[in-house]
Amino acid sequence: MRLLSSLKGIVGTALVCQAALLSAPVYAGGHGGDFYKGKTITIIVRSGPGGGYDQYGRLIGNHIGKHIPGNPKVIVQNMPGAGGIVAANYLDSQAPRDGTVVAIIDRGVAFTQRVGKEGVSYDVSKWNLLGSATGEAYAYVAAKDAPFNSLSELKSLRDEQKFSATGPGSDSYTYTELLQNAGMPVRLISGYVGTQEKLLAVIRGEVQGTAGSFGSIVEQAKEEGLKVIGLLGKVAGQDQLEQLSTFIPENQKATLAVATAPLAAGRPFATTPGVPADRVKILQDAFRKALEDPELIAEAAKGERPIDYMNPEDLATLYSNILMAPDDVIAKFSETPVTKVTAALDDVQDGGKLIVFKGTGASVNAAISSSRTKLLVAGKEVKRKALKAGMNCSIEYNPGHPENEASLVDCQ
């Protein structure tokens, strides 16, 4: 009896809950010049409330309506998830294709699509782009007492410098990693969340530097007496700062171009595929006019959010360059980062579980795994015990691994 009554409870609950779910919005179609009259435009924001995407989404949301014939109502809806992939998939396949849905998309959408990240089911090339509200640049900052004042001084150092970072796969991690591509003795400490935690780590002195988007990091850094040591991307009035791109070796320039294209895209907006051309035109024009609107400009200035309109054609070029990047350039992003050096083993500890050698500038401790590291001495596979200090070896190790695990140690 007890089982029966609880069963009744479960079924009853499920039925009522289902009724509550069936309240999805219904969209009506319509044609003609005054299509937008009485309609509601939804602006999808690729992240939760707060932060840059949300603020730009709401800026446009507050002002685009009056530049569209028929003055539609505009609402803003947050759709966070998987670094913007959830919102991009929604825009691509689920949103109504009548021009009533506009999204501020992740600046890296095209890159994420090209490298084939898990979960991507959208195709940027089919979207109707509206343009971008502004480009972004990255700034590199260093602690007050860090032994370097600029990128070139950092490059000349021999000792490893720690930089706080978020997790691999995020924009900010990739842009901090570029310091390593430029041959600087930098080690990334990952696991910090957001610009605030990265900066606090520099202030506490547990790391020597960090990187963040120019708008979100530079002012706070200066206020705490931190040094701005360089930039990635142009910022008006900051020509005295060194550009990281000048330190990147020639053979990696193509990779750099793909990696930094999302920065140029900044805060991009798009509407769904399949929208009638006249409505796309209306939305593109309204987007541009909204960004020229003195009221929007005033509101953006008060929130310290720069505005620098990019037209849809330029944005499309930027994205198609990423989508058509050659495989060998893209492959650099998908494989685990490997640093290759040839060096003498300065020390071998724990019966070969740990080796110490001079890496690119700094001294490196790398772990040797009994199963994952391939060990060769004079061309023959050996056990860890066979490694001795003083041997001359070519070493491949993963600088992103917490213990710098080596994948190959090939000694003479």
Binding site: S5, S6, K8, G9, G12, T13, A14, V16, C17, A19, A20, L21, G48, P49, G50, G51, D54, Q55, R58, N62, Q77, N78, M79, P80, G81, A82, I85, V86, N89, E118, G119, K162, T166, G167, P168, S170, Y173, I189, S190, G191, V193, G194, Q196, L199, L200, A201, I203, R204, G205, E206, V207, Q220, E223, E224, E299, K302, G303, E304, G400, P402
Partner: protein
């Protein structure tokens, strides 16, 4: 320090101007209605209010935005106590004793105690913040990832106190929670774990849907099955219940102070928020209060008081890193200060020196808004408490809608509704077979934070991080706390033995 007093006064005067005061009241109403429902957090409300703030004077905007944020943990206890549906992430632990109180016919007392404790906690947090202004910077610099890691271990150690009678079951469930916490993209390595290729799982399990599933759905099922109203008793004297509830926090004033300190402490640690403060406070109360072992979980008012004092005191604590370095301690605070930029308030040196009155207006708002909110909420206790008398056929659809919308609105995702349903079934099973549910949430909340601080510490200092002075001392303290019950038992046994020996002679 001489020039502090003019700032204290001018901060108070600025928010008491009629127009500013009116916006504070507006903020309070928004925070106690919209924000107090599950699904809509203070973040969403503030984001919606930013265009309004754009048109306001400086202190009007401060009053509006800061009050929405400051009192968001007061009214969110209502749905927790009445229906076991958490109104926000800070009122999960309120359910544990608040809902049983409602079932015992003590809804009025539980609500009154929660609101009063909220006010006391809010005021206490603000006072701690004011007193710590001169030592803000060294305080924040003292604590890095290794210290955060050990402090979170203290929380994980609470699994045993939250387990109730069956420690082994509690431990198993706590470990299951830690395991579930690993779902999603790993913050340190960027590798997705247990996502099974699903986008919905990339950011891990969201807390609110899991909590609603674990606590609200099983109660809902039980309600439908039993066919009786939530309160099993007659609500004969709401007035005396309310009076008793207002008195309770004052009777347990020492618990209020300790819980508020726990709240301030949690607020200071980046990454931890209300969702952690409530469990820390509840665990602390359960471990230290007399007789808690027997009565907590069955409707003990002290369980409600501890949680609400802590979550409200937390707001003052979270302002500490923000004021010290102009670096917002939480994403909600980042939004608050993003909004205040619009009216020319910049976090950092500015509001600690030339605009010190702004800082004090924050502190005054924490105090005044907390008290007003609690008084307003107390006025509405009677009609609220009567909801526990409504027959299930009317009430169940309402709670159901609240649950579904709450789970959905957290990130506008239908997957979260599925997650709620899954944990609803799991929660019902656990409830039926006497497994404790809180350790699961504790593991789920603390797992990711513990893990990332551990790996960041390791990357920074290798394993030697455990020998850092503060880290090491905290670790020793933790070990002592964990060993104490066993040591106590051992000493007692020895004494008893020697007593027997003496008796024999």
């Amino acid at each position: 320090m001489d020039d502090i007093w003019p700032a204290v006064v001018s901060g108070l005067v600025s928010i008491l101007q009629p127009s500013a005061f009116m916006y504070m009241m507006l903020g309070i109403v928004i925070s106690s209605t919209l924000v107090a429902l599950p699904g809509i957090g203070s973040k969403t409300a503030i984001a919606l209010l930013l265009p309004v703030a754009f048109t306001l004077e400086k202190f009007e905007a401060i009053c509006l935005i800061v009050s929405v944020w400051a009192v968001s943990n007061t009214a969110n206890s209502i749905t927790s106590i009445l229906f076991a549906v958490p109104g926000g992430s800070g009122s999960q632990a309120t359910i544990l004793d608040g809902y049983p109180m409602a079932r015992n016919g003590e809804a009025a007392r539980a609500l009154a105690a929660a609101f009063t404790a909220s006010a006391l906690g809010g005021v206490f947090g603000a006072m701690v913040l004011a007193l710590s202004l001169p030592i803000l910077k060294p305080l924040v610099i003292m604590l890095g990832p290794p210290e955060f890691f050990v402090l979170i271990l203290f929380g994980i150690a609470m699994v045993s106190t939250l387990s109730g009678k069956n420690k082994v079951k509690g431990l198993v469930i706590g470990l299951l929670g830690l395991l579930l916490a690993t779902v999603g993209v790993h913050l340190v390595s960027g590798i997705p774990r247990f996502t099974f290729g699903s986008l919905a799982l990339m950011e891990g399990l969201s807390l609110i849907p899991v909590t609603i599933g674990l606590f609200a759905i099983p109660e809902l099922i039980a309600l439908v099955a039993s066919g009786s109203s939530i309160s099993k008793m007659e609500l004969n004297n709401l007035d005396s219940g309310r009076r008793q509830g207002i008195k309770d926090p004052f009777i347990h004033w020492w618990l209020v102070i300790r819980s508020s300190l726990v709240g301030v402490w949690v607020g200071m640690i980046p990454g931890l928020g209300s969702s952690v403060a409530d469990w820390f406070a509840y665990g602390h109360a359960r471990a230290t209060e007399k007789g808690a072992e027997e009565t907590f979980g069955t409707g003990d008012v002290r369980g409600v008081i501890a949680v609400d004092a802590a979550t409200n005191a937390k707001e003052g604590g979270s302002l500490i890193p923000t004021l010290a370095f102009g670096i917002p301690g939480s994403s909600t605070l980042a939004l608050v200060f993003g909004g205040l930029l619009i009216v020319g308030v910049k976090p950092g040196k500015d509001i600690l020196t030339t605009n010190l009155d702004v800082t004090f207006s924050f502190i005054w708002l924490l105090i005044i808004a907390s008290v007003i909110t609690s008084v307003l909420c107390i006025i509405f206790i009677k009609p609220l408490a009567k909801a526990t008398q409504i027959r299930p056929s009317l009430l169940v659809p309402v709670i159901c809608a609240l649950s579904v919308v709450g789970a959905f609105a957290t990130s506008n995702s239908y997957y979260d509704v599925l997650i709620m349903a899954f944990f609803g079934v799991a929660g019902y099973w656990l409830r039926l077979h006497g497994w404790p549910r809180p350790p699961l949430l504790l593991g789920l909340v603390l797992g990711p934070e513990a893990e990332r601080h551990l790996w960041t510490s390791y990357q920074l200092y290798d394993w030697e991080f455990i020998f850092r002075p503060i880290t090491g001392s905290l670790l020793l303290l933790l070990m002592a706390i964990l060993a104490w019950p066993t040591v106590k038992k051992f000493i007692r046994k020895k004494r008893a033995e020697s007593g027997v020996a003496h008796g024999g002679q």
